[in-house]
Symmetry: C2
Subunit: 146 residues, 2 copies
């Protein structure tokens, strides 16, 4: 059971930006800090920008920062947006599942997915970052402008 790689990368970026709030790293720096390819990070940053969670300022002195909305956003809401409404199994795959017509399991799995998301609703990016900021002295992750 896995979230998409896209959600994974997006959450890493949000968590990183939440921890280093006084800095405005570039997408390339963030990509290196969370150990993902630059192109993946750039796509995630674009989507996080569309969702209003990250602001990217171009040019010299520019960089990425979390918006106030991004700081307060619910992780449940973010993961719902990034994952979309699809099934957790391949009901509509190619070929589609022949049981699909009157499959009671599909509804049970949809409710289970909702239980997953609901569990993340009270969690905010800011809340997740707080313990990391408090222990910043022992955090190996460094974002340094070169």
């Amino acid at each position: 059971m896995r979230l998409t790689a896209f959600t994974d990368v997006s959450l890493r970026i949000l968590l990183t930006l939440a921890t280093i709030e006084r800095d405005t790293p570039t997408t390339r720096e963030v990509a290196e800090a969370v150990a993902v390819p630059y192109t993946h990070a750039a796509k995630a940053v674009a989507r996080l920008g569309e969702l209003g969670l990250v602001h990217a300022r171009r040019g010299r002195g520019g960089g990425l920062r979390l918006t106030a909305e991004g700081r307060e956003a619910s992780v449940g809401w973010i993961v719902r947006e990034l994952e979309g409404p699809g099934d957790v199994v391949g009901c509509e795959g190619d070929p589609p599942c022949p049981l699909n017509g009157d499959c009671v399991l599909r509804g049970a799995l949809a409710r289970a997915k909702e239980a997953f998301m609901s569990s993340l609703d009270p969690v905010t990016i800011e809340g997740l970052a707080a313990p990391r900021k408090a222990s910043a002295g022992r955090v190996p992750l460094q974002l340094t402008r070169r």
Copy 2:
């Protein structure tokens, strides 16, 4: 957010066997009925046998049938067994996530995964099959011995 293809195939097989309880189809027949490659179905049947959910009788007149345990088993338990204990994101990937050392998100995602599984705990294979059996007249799925 997806369960593995292996879990998907396994659930399709269990649901099919639960619906056609008076028949003992072969693995090949079940594979065709749920529209998955034979080799995938065979691996899933082997694992479902190990878990005590499916009994496979070899030879002429043999075939697959759900065991009493398989009929009463909780879908939450089955999905936990098939999915294993891994993270829903790539914390331990290659390369591992640099945030991993003190990531609070990892615990939140583990609790969300547990909420997903718990939601499936009261669901049984037999309970899922009951509405399908009741509407068997309009179910397009047919398992016919050739």
